[in-house]
């Protein structure tokens, strides 16, 4: 019989390295036409980080995402970066980029101030313009200011900066300390169908609510969450590297190491929890790793709700679930002596 169940999994996760320094540096070069080039040492690993980083630079310069071209991941040309690890790119590299763009913008403001007859600290960069705060009609296109800066004033608007999240070392005896600058929180809920005759588990629906501070690009956040859930489903139900008694792997191929495919994916609803972290770039934190964290917990709790068995060892394969169901049924059976 197919039995349905619901389960919840909740988690917290830090951004950046545990105590250890993990700096990022960045350079932003504003071109003569107001577009800009961003140099970063981080690596695009498919998550869309370069787009998010371009958005951060664009926001600081008051231009659009498309106005930023990103050059990345070449040790000869790009500044140092600790890399695409520890869910740190948006937060740490993003902060470095925001500071670098701020430095480039400072040059633009200093060049624009006399032209607009104000002090540099009265200016803001909005909508491809350098304008006076609270008096937007006095403004100049950013392109004009950048051209003026480079070719008239001889001050190319280039900014560089670095960022390292502040931490406090942990006591070796008690572990007390401030190992991370910030954390994110998330909950996922799973609805499963368990066949109590075969032990097979089918995840039919998941809802996920993740905190990532400000979502710099909500579409990419959703993509990360859906990808994380697929990885979480593999971890919960299917994937396992097996070894023979000599320590050699038995299934080093995708025929026998079973990953979830698109056909295994449930319907997913994603929500982004509204939050703002004052230490992040425009309030952003990160979302990469946390998305794969609570999925297995939610699914195993849903199995427990459906058939009343607690899976204590992952993955919850059909064999394991069926064995647990049988054990439970056996222990519940009462011994009735035969009638004499």
């Amino acid at each position: 019989m197919i039995r349905r169940g619901k389960g919840v999994g909740c988690m917290w996760y830090p951004i950046g390295f545990t105590v250890a320094a993990n700096p990022s540096a960045a350079t932003v070069k504003v071109n003569e036409d107001g577009t800009a080039t961003l140099l970063t040492g981080t690596v695009e690993t498919g998550q869309g980080s370069l787009t998010v980083l371009a958005q951060i630079a664009a926001e600081e310069l008051g231009v659009s995402t498309d106005d930023i071209h990103v050059v990345s991941a070449d040790t000869d040309t790009t500044p140092m970066d600790t890399g695409a690890i520890a869910s740190r790119t948006t937060y740490v590299t993003g902060n470095a980029i925001k500071l670098a763009a701020e430095n480039a913008k400072k040059i633009l403001f200093e060049v624009a101030a006399p032209l607009l007859d104000v002090q540099p600290n009265q200016l803001e960069a909005v909508d491809r313009k350098i304008q006076v705060q609270y008096f937007p009609q006095r403004c100049l296109p950013i392109a004009d200011v950048a051209l003026q800066a480079q070719f008239v004033m001889g001050r190319p608007p280039i900014g560089s900066a670095s960022y390292n999240p502040p931490t406090v070392g942990m006591d070796p005896e008690t572990g007390q300390g401030k190992p991370f600058s910030t954390y994110v929180y998330a909950t996922q809920c799973a609805e499963v169908e368990v066949d109590d005759e075969t032990g097979e588990v089918d995840v039919i629906y998941m809802s996920a609510a993740h905190d990532c501070g400000t979502a710099i690009n909500p579409m990419l956040v959703e993509g990360q969450i859906e990808g994380g859930i697929s990885m979480g489903i593999g971890f919960a139900l299917q994937e396992e590297m097996l070894f023979d008694d000599k320590g050699r792997q038995l299934n080093p191929n995708l025929t026998n190491y079973i990953m979830p495919t698109s056909l295994d994916m449930p319907e997913i609803d994603v929500d982004i929890v509204e939050n703002f972290d004052p230490t992040g770039p425009f309030g952003a934190k990160g979302v990469g790793e946390p998305t794969a964290v609570p999925t297995a917990a939610a699914i195993c709790n849903a199995i427990f709700d459906a058939v009343g068995v607690r899976i204590t060892s992952l993955p919850a394969t059909a064999e394991k679930v069926l064995r647990a169901i049988k054990e439970k049924n056996n222990s519940e059976q009462k011994f009735i002596p035969a009638a004499e």
């Binding site: 390295f17 690596v43 690993t45 787009t51 664009a58 007390q176 909950t187 609805e191 971890f235 320590g247």
Partner: protein, 464 residues
């Protein structure tokens, strides 16, 4: 007389054969991929302010049109191919390696063994891993020799000709067994435990004494692979000035460059690492793998050398997710408040440290869950075993401990007759809560996420 029927049959047969041949024959010049020259940019990319926009990715267009160049798509003039010989034996002393037969094989241009690498060790915390094992093999996927040949197939054929004599050593597969004093010491250390972490907060014994109920359960998790779409790949080019350029699928180039320079004994400014668009990382590409090996093969041959892992290489020789053994003991009040928690984590660290120390640290801090627990004691150990090494993988120990603490939570909720959502809301961090390490937490939204996800799910109205 000509049998016309027979001739017709023969022509037809020839024609069909020719067709098959045409279908099989690859075009000598690949068809040009046409793409629209006028580029329509999505409105979200043009919008200001930029933050919060659903901006599309410029690389998405390249992927969609098949224009992205991954390492395997790159060719350089004169480029040759490298393959790595795997030990195939989990734990053994290497008595001898003979590559002379392999070097005589057709197409083979160079071989490399561990003793030829200037500094044959690397690792982010402990430099305990050889690039090519030269003394002891500690897991079956350990590389023992490399071959560079004109084609991949020639390199593969040559691998079979490499003769290695092993002296088998005892295997240690179970991390709990490996922790025991009498276990065989895989790295000749005093113990196979190579990292320990502790967190102590409040007074657990008093907390347990004050509890109405005490729950205990042990959880375990398995070893899994990252399985990125693109396997590890790199191309090395040693130039006439003694400078090496590496196109690599590394996820962290700055530290990778330092590691490569260290193993090759080169000044850092003579190493250039270019990471192309990486086809999935998930933590598996956070450290060097074959880069110094192909750099040296390129130095030996004067040719660009490419090495792309097969899926099997990826499984047996790259890092994986740590299996954990997690013992949980939690004291609860009858109202459902967590009074005290004791956790013992044993992480199967595999043959080499890699990122295990960091993983253990994160798992240790996160193991209590996003809950207010005044009395907490966590002990965590990373242990060597003679299995594929475990390292960084999306979540750094968090998916393992989350599976344990959340399963444990529902166990307790069921015993106490409290709704799973209620017990979580009752114990969840608030704004200003102190973390297990005593850090005051800000911008805490555990409750909001619990309420949002369950509301979307329809948790309260849900019916079986």
């Amino acid at each position: 007389m000509v049998d016309e029927v027979k001739v017709a049959e023969k022509t037809e047969k020839l024609e069909s054969l020719r067709k098959i041949d045409d279908n099989l024959r690859l075009p000598s010049v690949p068809e040009r991929i046409a793409f629209p020259k006028e580029i329509g940019v999505s409105a979200a990319r043009m919008q200001t302010p930029a933050v919060g926009q659903r901006a599309t990715r410029p690389d998405g267009r390249m992927h969609g049109l098949g224009q992205t160049k991954y390492i395997d798509d790159m060719f350089f003039p004169g480029m040759i191919h490298a393959k790595i010989k795997r030990a195939g034996i989990a734990h053994a002393k290497i008595k001898s390696i003979d590559v002379s037969e392999a070097e005589k094989m057709p197409g083979v241009m160079a071989t490399l063994i561990g003793s030829e690498i200037p500094v044959n060790s690397f690792g982010p915390s402990l430099q305990d891993q050889p690039l090519l094992a030269d003394d002891v093999v500690r897991h079956a996927g350990d590389g023992v020799a490399a071959v560079a040949a004109v084609t991949e197939q020639q390199a593969l054929d040559a691998l079979d000709k490499i003769k290695i004599e092993y002296e088998e050593l005892p295997n240690v597969f179970d991390p709990v067994e490996a922790m025991k004093e009498n276990a065989y010491k895989i790295h000749n250390n005093e113990s196979n435990v190579y990292a320990t972490k502790t967190i102590m907060k409040g007074d657990v014994e008093k907390g347990f004494a004050d509890s109405n109920f005490i729950f205990e359960r042990t959880f375990t998790t398995q070893m899994v692979e990252h399985v990125p779409m693109e396997p590890h790949a790199s191309i090395g080019q040693w130039d006439a000035n003694g400078r090496v350029t590496l196109h690599s699928s590394l996820g962290r180039i700055t530290l990778g460059r330092a590691d490569i320079a260290r193993t090759l004994e080169l000044p850092i400014n003579r190493v250039r690492v270019i990471a192309t668009i990486v086809g999935g990382n998930f933590g598996g590409k956070n450290e060097i793998t074959t880069e110094p090996i192909i750099a040296l093969l390129s130095k030996k041959t004067g040719r660009p050398v490419k090495c792309v892992f097969t899926r099997e290489d990826e499984f047996i020789s790259s890092t994986t997710r740590h299996p954990f053994v997690m013992e949980y003991k939690t004291g609860m009040s009858k109202e459902g408040k967590i009074m005290a928690r004791k956790v013992r984590l044993i992480c199967d660290g595999g043959a080499y440290c890699s990122w295990s120390e960091t993983t253990l640290g994160k798992a240790c801090i996160l193991s209590a869950g996003p809950y207010n627990i005044e009395n907490l004691h966590v002990d965590a150990y990373a242990v060597y075993t003679t299995k594929t090494m475990t390292g960084a993988m999306r979540g750094f120990g968090a998916p393992q401990v989350c599976f344990a603490y959340e399963s444990h939570m529902d166990d307790m909720a069921a015993e106490l007759g409290i709704e799973p959502l209620e017990i979580r809301l009752q114990n969840a961090f608030n704004e200003g809560s102190a973390s297990p390490t005593g850090q005051v937490l800000e911008a805490v939204v555990v409750r909001d996420s619990l309420e949002m996800a369950t509301e979307r799910f329809g948790w309260k109205e849900w019916q079986r």
